[in-house]
Amino acid sequence: EAGVAQSPRYKIIEKRQSVAFWCNPISGHATLYWYQQILGQGPKLLIQFQNNGVVDDSQLPKDRFSAERLKGVDSTLKIQPAKLEDSAVYLCASSRDRYSGNTIYFGEGSWLTVV
């Protein structure tokens, strides 16, 4: 079974530029998550999708971050314009469904450095 795929793995951009990250979850997984992990901190949920609908985006900085999951499969997270404090690892993850107790499967992450 293929795992969660993410790209690009590494990205360096200047502040005020834009960047997009792509994620393909495990086949058949209805729930998709985007987490932000800043160095020295645990993953923080940015947005959670159930199929192609958003169930939680309460911690997504909506003035600069956007995400979509068209057709309920793969997803894109965009940052525009980027700030220095956006430097982090962006983790995509998926689970079979939205119910509590489900194992969350993570991709290897996309490392973003904003200079």
Binding site: G42, K44, S100, Y105, G109
Partner: protein
Amino acid sequence: AQSVTQLDSQVPVFEEAPVELRCNYSSSVSVYLFWYVQYPNQGLQLLLKYLSGSTLVESINGFEAEFNKSQTSFHLRKPSVHISDTAEYFCAVSDTSGGYQKVTFGIGTKLQVIP
């Protein structure tokens, strides 16, 4: 609201010695508890989880954790560590408020096994 506290950011231990990684949580509702592990240059992966039943849960590689409701703890233990256990370990809590899984992660504990 729920939260997770991992009391130790780094734990050095000699090979074949026992180790305990501490985790305490706070939640106003019933919870499920998880330990995820992140090996160098890899994504997070589930180590073990407590959903119900026996309060002692085990992983396939010798780790165990015990759910203690009165102390709101879920400490991770291994009687004898190996070099290959060097990784970062994240405790996480999940509840069912809002009808979907909402997982909160701790800041992580880096386990360094010394030869």
